[in-house]
Symmetry: C2
């Protein structure tokens, strides 16, 4: 089912992020259209080289957070899809939108925006050291 394929691509994105696996991250982003990315607190990045340079920096940082995806919701739109999900790390929460487009190799990311959100009341998260 296409919805599952999108969910799988979204999961692969967070696995590449958590594993600091740049080649996996690079393979997940579209090549046929202009991509964009808004990291929390950053100005928007536009174009594949700028976006991938940001991921190379983030994933090469041994201090980068061990992020995990919670409660992904998939919204299908034919050849496009988007996922809304929480991102958690060290007891903190972000909320993200991930846009995907179908390319030859499957569902590829074309845009990501992540920003702060209060901790949802109904998600259990182990208390850990906060990020500063």
């Amino acid at each position: 089912m296409e919805r599952d394929a999108v969910l799988f691509a979204n999961e692969a994105f967070y696995r590449a992020f958590a594993d600091r696996d740049f080649p996996a991250m690079d393979a997940l982003w579209a090549r046929e259209v202009t991509v964009a990315c808004i990291h929390p607190g950053w100005a928007p990045l536009v174009g594949r080289s700028e976006v991938m340079a940001s991921w190379r920096g983030i994933l090469s940082n041994p201090q980068s957070p061990a992020i995990a995806c919670r409660r992904p919701e998939v919204f299908m739109q034919g050849m496009n899809a988007f996922v809304v999900c929480y991102e958690t790390f060290d007891g903190n929460f972000l909320i993200a939108t991930n846009l995907f487009q179908r390319e030859a190799g499957g569902w590829k990311l074309i845009h990501h925006q992540s920003g702060p959100v209060p901790a949802p009341e109904d998600i259990e998260e182990p208390a850990e050291t906060s990020m500063h």
Copy 2:
């Protein structure tokens, strides 16, 4: 040109927001697919009735900020498109992603995420009272 039509729809969204014009806002959101919305600091809203109820509340509040869109960038994907733009009000900045889909009546919003961003260094903004 389709790009201009998307930009026009994006502009109409911020005009409806600034004018607190709920009927205009309601007409801008898609009816043929499930829509979603992430207001700054809110949990994600899913479905047209929930999303439009949030806009009804925001637009009926006489204290809601006089928001304006800056530097919209349009990304076309056939029947879909997204816009990345800054939102400014009272000297503060947010960064937003607006997703559009072509419906019978033109380009309609299917998702909006807005979150905090530092003021871009190269945008001149008149100093005004901060929001609290």
